[in-house]
């Protein structure tokens, strides 16, 4: 089927739910990548992908066509993922607070875990080094950063997707980059 996104949306709206399959097949990999980079967890990302498409189907009436379908879908995915990340963070924070009697230095922890230059050739090791740094970001910072850095979206568009002013989106990206630099630069010195 050579339907455009707009054709498929029109078909679904005309009462053909199976036309939604075109949209699922066309966008699911990109949505998975976005969800994975936001959550850092494969299972959570899979759940977010399904939740995104189900929510998108139910809310398709709200898609007014002013932005592209993929931009709108990114917004739905970001909201789904943000919701699930907040729930997950709560559980993690409670666990961490329970263990916080002896405060630990995250940077020192990371430095001790710094992999060798050889290990850096493997993406899994790279991910395991980068993920703790990304985990330090707030949900909003991580979302804005992922959209800017990995998805190549402009600040204005990120603001529209997250429904915040462009300035707020820009500052979320700034704070994310600053935190990432603080966490990663010492490690990178070690492997240069």
């Amino acid at each position: 089927m050579d339907w455009t996104d707009a054709d498929a949306v029109a078909q679904v709206r005309a009462g053909n739910p199976d036309a939604f399959r075109v949209l699922v097949e066309r966008h699911s990999r990109a949505i998975f990548r976005l969800a994975f980079r936001m959550t850092g967890n494969e299972q959570d990302a899979e759940d977010a992908v399904q939740e995104t498409f189900l929510r998108a189907f139910k809310q398709l009436k709200n898609f007014d066509g002013r932005s592209s379908f993929s931009t709108w879908l990114y917004r739905v995915c970001a909201n789904c993922t943000i919701d699930s990340m907040r729930v997950r963070k709560k559980h993690e924070q409670k666990r961490v607070r329970d263990q916080e009697d002896s405060e630990t230095d995250l940077l020192a922890q990371q430095a001790s875990k710094a992999p060798s230059a050889e290990q850096l050739t493997h993406s899994r090791e790279i991910n395991s080094m980068l993920e703790p740094a990304l985990e330090q970001l707030s949900v909003m910072e991580r979302t804005a950063f992922v959209m800017r850095h990995y998805e190549g979206l402009g600040i204005e568009e990120i603001g529209r997707i997250l429904e915040v002013q462009p300035n707020a989106a820009k500052h979320s990206v700034f704070r994310a980059v600053q935190k990432l630099r603080r966490a990663l630069e010492p490690l990178m010195e070690g492997v240069r």
Binding site: G15, V24, F36, I82, K89, S138, H149, V164, R181
Partner: protein
């Protein structure tokens, strides 16, 4: 020479501004950009695991049933969410929950254009949806930490959207004497209003007070139980 700020360098790296002229003339800023670029370039190695062949088809298989089942609810939702009709239907729904002897006269539009069973189904879904979204806001707030200002602000925006909807449901429940719903929606409405009208930069004490209020009364649990019951009932009737 005034050096570029880190923000400026970040915008340049992402192509949002062009600082090439300054960078060509300033060795210090150029070196700083290199350090920044090295870190950000390294982050490109953070890869999402590739999905196997047939991923799209498998995903669709998993969801197709739910999507086809949701179709009916989806078509009816635009009507549900229109405030006027929702108000009329809410009246009919709550009236239906109390005894026939006390039943309030049904609004003209509700009685003429939608069957009783239809009204009931629509309301089950709409109320369930309202409670689900409210629950999400409450969960976000209970989980929030004072430094996560953006997240708290988003929750406040969502609470602002939920307040008028909640008021409509609560007023109707009160009018028809549905005390159980009235009490729940009243309690929920007070919390949502406080959140929605709170300052954009809630202090940690204010946030803590809201969290204690939500948790001490078991509001999330109550909303979840009632919401789940409604949605379950709505799905069974669809």
């Amino acid at each position: 020479m005034k050096h570029l700020s880190e923000e400026h360098l970040i915008l340049h790296y992402y192509g949002e501004t062009d600082a090439s002229e300054h960078l060509n003339a300033c060795a210090a800023c150029s070196a700083e950009l290199k350090r920044l670029a090295a870190t950000l370039d390294a982050l490109h190695a953070y890869e999402a695991p590739e999905r196997g062949p047939g991923y799209e088809a498998l995903l669709w298989q998993r969801m197709a049933g739910e999507i086809r089942a949701a179709k009916l609810a989806w078509w009816r939702r635009p009507f549900v969410l229109a405030p006027l009709l929702a108000g009329l239907v809410v009246g009919a729904f709550f009236a239906g929950r109390i005894s026939t002897a006390r039943r309030a006269p049904l609004p003209l539009m509700a009685t003429s254009s939608i069957s009783d069973a239809g009204r009931q189904r629509i309301l089950l879904v709409a109320l369930g949806d309202h409670l689900e979204r409210s629950q999400m806001v409450l969960v976000e707030l209970v989980n929030a930490r004072p430094e996560d200002r953006d997240g708290i602000h988003l929750s406040q925006q969502r609470a602002q959207e939920l307040v008028p909807e909640n008021r409509l449901y609560r007023q109707t429940a009160a009018q028809v004497g549905d005390e159980e719903f009235n009490a729940l929606l009243d309690e929920l409405g007070r919390v949502l209003t406080d959140v929605a009208n709170g300052p954009s930069d809630l202090s940690s004490t204010e946030l803590e007070q809201i969290q204690q209020r939500i948790e001490s009364r078991g509001l999330i649990f109550k909303v979840r139980v009632v919401g789940n019951n409604l949605q379950h009932k709505g799905n069974n009737e669809l």
